[in-house]
């Protein structure tokens, strides 16, 4: 049972990480291959601030904001040439631009901050919850992720801009014609994707470990989630994250870490074969 709970917590973090890549794709027609590096930026900033003896809460918040602004910066500069194109051309150009950015950021992190790692190892006693022994750290990460997700949902369902973002995902031209500023909504979405990725990375750093070289891993994980969950569905992303989190934790526990990547990719391939639209994609 403990394994399942660990898996669910991992899944919640995956959800935070992936929802950004999914939303940016659904809204902007752009896959951000530097998404993991954006997350790492948040973690690194938090780590540097903690080293500089800032309060961990301050460090965490600033780190999350840094990730958000990095993503926003990419939207306003790097991705502009891609936005001027449509469909496949936009997707391909953005793939190359963000891939380049991911290499540049990775290089910068490992060259400039090779030994900076965020690991507070906050005192994490184990407690019993309903007969299961869990680390309080896991509970804290789970609660943080759930709370963040709740805020996201409240934004999407409860605000005008949130509703506009949902309608752009369904029909961009329709949104323009209703008077929605799609460019601005896209920037907001990139910013949000950065914030969410930052929360995931800082959470990971505070309660387990985050290194400067973990960007590619984060990106690939969120891409797998996007494939399994369907690239246009928030609920799908959420469920896929939980599923992959549990699969990951169970395999690490019973088989060994070396197989988990293969297993995750196998789940993705199986999804593509059985339900190419993803678990919960909209029916046509």
């Amino acid at each position: 049972m403990g394994v399942i709970l660990d898996g669910l917590v991992l899944g919640l973090q995956l959800a935070l990480l992936s929802v950004g890549i999914v939303f940016v794709y659904g809204l902007g027609g752009v896959l951000n291959l530097a998404h993991g590096q954006v997350a790492v930026a948040g973690g690194l900033v938090a780590a540097l601030l903690v080293q500089a003896r800032q309060h961990p809460a301050v460090a965490g918040v600033v780190g999350v904001l840094a990730a958000g602004f990095l993503a926003l910066g990419m939207d306003r500069t790097l991705l502009q040439p891609a936005y001027r194109r449509k469909g496949e051309e936009r997707l391909l150009l953005a793939l190359i631009l963000t891939l380049g950015a991911s290499f540049a950021l990775d290089g910068f992190y490992t060259f400039r901050y090779p030994n900076v790692a965020l690991s507070l190892r906050l005192a994490t006693p184990s407690v019993e919850v309903m007969g299961i022994t869990v680390r309080t750290a896991s509970l804290a990460v789970g609660a943080l992720s759930l709370a963040t997700f709740g805020l996201l949902l409240a934004f999407l369902k409860g605000t005008r801009l949130g509703k506009a973002i949902r309608c752009i995902i369904q029909n961009e031209a329709g949104a323009w014609l209703c008077g929605v500023d799609v460019d601005r909504a896209r920037s907001v979405t990139l910013f949000l994707s950065g914030l969410l990725a930052g929360v995931a990375a800082v959470g990971q750093g505070f309660f387990s470990f985050l290194g400067p070289d973990m960007g590619p891993e984060f990106t690939i994980l969120s891409l797998i989630v996007a494939v399994v969950g369907g690239v246009r569905s928030l609920t799908g992303t959420f469920l896929a994250s939980l599923l992959l989190g549990v699969v990951n934790a169970a395999l690490s526990y019973w088989v060994g870490t070396y197989l988990t990547w293969i297993a995750l990719l196998a789940v993705a391939v199986a999804t593509l074969l059985v339900r190419p639209e993803g678990l919960l994609a909209y029916w046509p």
Binding site: R160, C167, Q170, A173, C178, G179, D181
Partner: protein
């Protein structure tokens, strides 16, 4: 009200609209006729900023629309109902209408009542998803959503596409009602008869240029003009 002068627009290397000038007078209904590929849709898309014109100028109520993005054009009071309707298929009829009022959220309730009055069918279907409506109902919803923004000028791109003749007649009766309520209309159409019944002013586009402009009575009375420009339709 709308004044278009020497407008050029298109995609890639091809200019689909080549030097079109036209005027739309306030309170009138004006038609742009022409076969498929004549440039009607590109003209409309250029007017609302979905396509950036290459040359020429567009003035609306005396102010230039140059460089405006579509959402800004909408806020100036021009609504565009595309031939593809561009609805939000997963949202309900009511949600689609509410999004139509995105730029002007005030007075939502009165405007909802007004469009339900014009299209009672939509009131019956208001909690149904837009994607499940019939073609005629989708067209009504697209027009109703455009009206939710309280436009001064309504651009309609081939509103009769895919509708049975009986529905076309009904749709045009509603459009006539709208015009009499003071909404200025510019419409692109292939169904010449329907368009002429509503519009007083007519432009005919052929291969991206204007082939004819005049009053609809000129066109109605002349089988020669008809066959020359509209293939005898």
């Amino acid at each position: 009200m709308l004044d278009v002068h020497d407008l050029w627009a298109g995609y890639g290397d091809v200019a689909a609209v080549r030097g079109v000038s036209l005027r739309v007078a306030e309170g009138e209904a004006t038609a742009v006729l022409g076969p498929n590929g004549a440039g009607k849709t590109t003209l409309f898309r250029a007017l609302v900023g979905l396509v950036r014109p290459r040359r020429g100028r567009v003035r609306f109520e005396g102010r230039s629309l140059e460089g405006l993005r579509p959402h800004q054009v909408v806020r100036r009071g021009i609504a565009y109902v595309a031939a593809e309707r561009e609805l939000f298929p997963q949202l309900t009829v009511l949600e689609n209408l509410e999004l139509g009022a995105y730029a002007r959220p005030d007075g939502l309730r009165e405007r909802l009542a007004a469009v339900f009055d014009l299209f009672p069918r939509l009131a019956e279907r208001k909690s149904q998803r837009a994607g499940t409506l019939s073609g005629g109902e989708q067209q009504m919803l697209a027009i109703a959503r455009a009206l939710m923004g309280k436009p001064k000028l309504l651009l309609l791109d081939e509103p009769s596409t895919g509708l049975a003749p009986r529905l076309v007649a009904e749709l045009y009766r509603r459009l006539d009602l709208l015009r009499r309520q003071g909404v200025t209309i510019l419409l692109a159409e292939q169904q010449v008869g329907a368009a002429l019944s509503l519009c007083s002013r007519v432009y005919v586009l052929k291969n991206g240029t204007l082939a004819f402009e005049g009053d609809s009575s000129d066109l109605r009375g002349s089988s020669h003009l008809h066959s020359a420009y509209l293939g005898g339709a």
